[in-house]
């Protein structure tokens, strides 16, 4: 692998940049004086924590925001005053458990997330494989750029694209009409939401799978082929088992992202195919029942965090993408 780090080169000949370098070194000297004054003997065991502090503080904002939700989730809305109750109660969780609306909400969301995960992985596997293994540079570039363009365009803008394609006056129905076929009404249905989600998740799935395919040594594939295995057998018995960790990681990421999605059901579901995230939003902003919304929010957070925790336990700490040097 080629090293990408650049080591500062020899001072350039131009006087101007030499002057800039001198100023830069003076600045560093100043910083060094500050450091030496603050930590004359080094920060010792504190150094790693000082480095981590800004990130820890940023994430702490999230923790500080979620903890009050726990408290809110335990207070029932007083319908007379429209204020949260005085005492802690599990009434909100009981409401979620008892009302069939919320049972169907959970089933719809989990079922759709499962279908989206399976479809995304089926579509992503060949894409990632070809992107990693192709010897043609132009094909690799085409596949990379096609993947990154939608990845870098937000969900709302992509959902707008689907509205244009699938709407009543949209491209799909124009083509069907031109072929003399009846129009389809996939927009504002659950399959429509899933279609939008699969397209949204495809880049995530491919990007999670690609490193796993890179790690498969080409020799084992060649060996399998030269022993007479067809490409299908090689893929099924050699490649798939080797990329299984990447496959599970991609499945977990796609499933949790779909499970907690808001924009696709909101835009492509037309209000009739809400997911749990939409119900949380409505509980806060339409029903004005923060207790119920918080209870749903806590349950959804627990689901997401548990799945990620299991993944960390299964695959270890490499999940954050770093390898510590021995």
């Amino acid at each position: 692998m080629k090293p990408r780090g650049t080591v500062p080169s020899a001072p350039p000949a131009e006087e101007q940049s030499a002057a800039a370098r001198t100023i830069g070194l003076r600045l560093l000297d100043g910083l060094e004086v500050v450091r030496a004054t603050l930590f004359p003997h080094g920060a010792g065991g504190l150094t790693p924590w000082l480095f981590l502090l800004p990130a820890l503080l940023l994430v702490f904002l999230l923790v500080a925001g979620i903890v009050p939700l726990l408290d809110t989730s335990l207070r029932e809305l007083d319908r007379a005053t429209f204020r949260p109750g005085e005492d802690w109660t599990l009434a909100n969780f009981q409401t979620l458990w008892e009302r069939p609306v919320y049972t169907w909400l959970a089933i719809r969301t989990m079922g759709a997330a499962l279908v989206v995960t399976v479809l995304s992985l089926l579509l992503a596997l060949p894409y990632a494989w070809l992107m990693v293994k192709t010897p043609r540079p132009w094909l690799k570039k085409l596949l990379l750029v096609s993947l990154f363009l939608p990845f870098f365009i937000g969900q709302v803008v992509r959902a707008y694209g689907w509205l244009v394609v699938l709407g009543n006056q949209g491209l799909a129905n124009a083509v069907l009409g031109w072929l003399g076929l009846p129009p389809v009404a996939i927009l504002y249905t659950l399959p429509g939401v899933m279609l939008g989600l699969v397209q949204y998740m495809l880049p995530f799935a491919v990007l999670m799978l690609a490193p796993a395919f890179t790690a498969v040594p080409e020799e084992v594939e060649l060996a399998s082929g030269s022993l007479g295995a067809s490409p299908a057998r090689t893929f099924r018995h050699i490649v798939l088992p080797l990329v299984r960790p990447g496959l599970v990681a991609a499945a977990v990421v796609v499933f949790t992202l779909s499970l907690t999605d808001f924009a696709m059901p909101a835009i492509m579901g037309g209000g009739r195919n809400d997911f749990i995230a939409n119900a949380i939003y409505d509980a806060f902003f339409s029903l004005s029942d923060p207790g119920l919304g918080s209870a749903l929010a806590i349950l959804l957070t627990l689901a997401g965090t548990t799945i990620a925790g299991i993944m960390l336990a299964l695959f270890g700490l490499g999940t954050l993408g770093y390898v510590r040097r021995g």
């Binding site: 480095f51 800004p54 363009l149 803008v157 806060f284 959804l300």
Partner: protein, 267 residues
């Protein structure tokens, strides 16, 4: 690879993927040039009128300006915080590594809708709502693991002997850090900064809860608009986003190469 029905099937799936990924974007580009008043196929004619509408409607430009502001605040916060965290994680043996990882991954494991409501209530109590910069701060919090990942990938390529050599030559710690360590992880910082900027400019759900009618960001403006009637001016907005994405990908390819993401994490 040999040709077989199986490889043909894989090729067909990839071809489908390419069309599937591109169709909504391509269609939007076509519609943005229509001269008609409605989104219809085939488009009525060619014109640039909807781009003109964008330039003459102050709310679009203001929302775009605010989204770029969100992106800048987010990136400015993420660069130091993410770089320092990635260096610390890769460099030192820290106690409770699993707990630390789970904590730093919270922005990904907490659903965005929950993060949005939690930050809205928190910022509300702190009197921070009604301004644009808290949206940038929120975008930084919810995407921070991307920044840490990007820099961590570069740290793994950093040879600790380079730093030891600098120290041996008499460079004090600050000099070593800024002249050896940082330049070595610069590709990761650039990648992370670019990704954080793009994600923040596109950030929708958390913004939806943190902004009010006076300070809507561009994705929130698009969201509010498509709930009423789908007009071609939004296609022109989408093309603006497409252009931003193209520039970002071009920069990423020039600076570090897109292939960086294909590398195995187990090397």
């Amino acid at each position: 690879m040999q040709r077989s029905p199986f490889t043909l099937l894989l090729g067909l799936i990839v071809a489908f993927d390419l069309v599937f990924l591109a169709v909504p974007t391509l269609v939007v580009v076509v519609i943005s040039f229509t001269s008609g008043n409605m989104v219809a196929f085939p488009p009525e004619g060619f014109s640039l009128r909807w781009y003109g509408v964008l330039l003459t409607k102050p709310e679009f430009l203001a929302a775009l300006g605010r989204s770029l502001q969100v992106g800048l605040v987010c990136t400015a916060l993420a660069i130091p915080a993410g770089t320092a965290a990635a260096l610390a994680l890769a460099r030192w043996r820290i106690r409770f590594p699993t707990a630390l990882q789970l904590y730093l991954l919270l922005p990904f494991t907490v659903p965005l809708v929950v993060s949005g409501i939690a930050l809205m209530l928190l910022f509300g109590r702190m009197g921070m709502l009604g301004a644009v910069w808290p949206v940038g701060l929120a975008a930084c919090v919810i995407n921070l693991p991307f920044m840490i990942w990007a820099v961590a990938a570069s740290v793994n390529h950093l040879d600790p002997d380079l730093e030891n050599a600098a120290m041996n030559c008499g460079a004090p710690p600050t000099h070593t850090f800024f002249t050896v360590t940082l330049p070595a992880v610069a590709p990761g910082i650039l990648t992370g900064a670019l990704v954080m900027f793009i994600l923040a400019v596109n950030e929708f759900l958390v913004s939806l809860m943190l902004v009010d009618a006076r300070i809507v960001t561009l994705p929130v403006l698009v969201y509010n608009a498509i709930r009423n009637i789908i007009t071609p001016d939004l296609a022109a907005v989408s093309v603006v986003y497409l252009l931003i994405a193209i520039v970002a990908i071009w920069l990423l390819d020039r600076l570090v190469g897109l292939g960086i993401l294909l590398e195995s994490k187990r090397n």
